[in-house]
């Protein structure tokens, strides 16, 4: 029943099948809008200096004032409308802020805070005041972010520096022309480790 020829035909047949699968996979990946780069690109992160965030005296920060809410809608100037949607920027450098910087920004009530974790995580507990825009479902939440002025200071957090959801959200926001995006990279884990207050009111769907 198991002759040597049987084994070779099994291996040959499997190799053929594997080849077909790889062919389908790469063709699909090439044409799919959600296709992945074959080699993952390196994530570039840079810390933001305090002076850039809080101003070094004469140069006043441009986003000072109350946080923008969806009520304060400002129309884009007509000439910028054409630039409103840009192709997704790959090789984007993510701007990272530390816990201290994050807390100072919160104390000054600057910017809007997005939680890029999954809806399930968010519904259990979150940083107070955060809005949930899961990094994998950004397009479902387009309506919530579309009406914000594009120069709104956006602060994003995810689980930890390894979490790709925060970077996905940052890339999406960059693609729709948000210009001032900060990533609190230590994220939820860092927030918990620092024993900062959390909002644990359960959110039911």
């Amino acid at each position: 029943m198991t002759t040597p020829e049987g084994h070779t035909s099994l291996v040959k047949e499997s190799a053929k099948l594997l080849l077909y699968a790889l062919l389908c996979a790469f063709m699909y990946n090439g044409f799919s809008p959600k296709g992945l780069p074959l080699i993952p690109r390196e994530v570039k992160k840079e810390s933001v200096a305090d002076s850039a965030l809080f101003g070094g005296g004469s140069s006043a920060p441009k986003n000072e004032g109350a946080p923008h809410t969806p009520d304060s809608v400002e129309a884009l100037p007509p000439d910028s409308a054409a630039k409103a949607v840009q192709p997704a920027k790959h090789n984007e450098t993510f701007r990272i802020i530390s816990l201290d910087q994050f807390k100072r920004l919160r104390a000054q009530k600057r910017g809007i805070l997005f939680d890029a974790r999954t809806a399930a995580d968010y519904s259990v507990s979150r940083i107070p005041g955060a809005l949930n825009i899961p990094g994998q479902e950004v397009t479902d939440h387009f309506g919530e972010v579309a009406e914000l002025p594009r120069d709104t200071l956006v602060i994003i957090y995810c689980n930890n520096p390894d979490c790709h959801l925060g970077r996905m959200l940052a890339e999406f926001l960059t693609a729709i022309a948000f210009t001032d995006i900060l990533l609190y990279d230590d994220g939820w884990d860092g927030w918990l480790a620092a024993k900062e207050p959390i909002d644990t009111m359960r959110i039911k769907k």
Binding site: A21, A25, F26, S32, L36, L38, I39, P40, Q136, D162
Partner: protein, 153 residues
């Protein structure tokens, strides 16, 4: 002409079980390859450079072999490939568990999150048994001719 014997029913059951499970498992991974790449990354077993390649190719191997099993085409080769995949999965899940990682197993994509557990390993081993059975029995009963006509159980 269909020839029934003692293997007919178990073979069809094993084929449908493996085939349908893998088709279901592959769909969501194909739809969101980025989520599957993240699941692979979470295992911390593979070098970063091949993570995307695995995320692109594994779901298609699952889908193609799953469809073959359901249709009865290339049954042995499909079972062979899927059994190898299941072996890799169970080893990966076991290592994650031994390292104490609490991660999503990535088994059925992001729509059905299930943490890694020994139960998952057991599931995989069970499916491996079904796959091995299909390789050994070489049945083509209720397969679509003209594929593999020379092999009869």
């Amino acid at each position: 002409m269909i020839q029934f014997n003692k293997h007919t029913i178990p073979v069809i059951a094993a084929r449908l079980l493996l085939g349908i499970i893998f088709i279901i498992a592959s769909i969501d991974k194909i739809v969101s390859p980025d989520a599957f790449a993240a699941s692979i990354h979470a295992y911390r077993l593979t070098p970063a450079i091949i993570e995307n390649l695995l995320a692109i190719t594994i779901p298609w191997i699952e889908l193609l072999c799953g469809c073959c099993l359901v249709m009865g085409v290339n049954v042995r080769a499909s079972s062979f490939l899927l059994t190898i995949l299941l072996g890799v999965f169970s080893v990966a899940i076991s290592i994650a568990l031994l390292r104490g990682l609490t991660i999503d197993c990535g088994c059925f994509g992001k729509e059905h999150l299930t943490p890694v557990s020994w139960g998952k390993v057991l599931e995989d081993v069970g499916l491996m048994v079904a796959g091995a059975y299909l390789i050994v029995v070489r049945s083509v009963t209720l397969s679509g001719p003209p594929w593999g006509r020379e092999e009869r159980a």
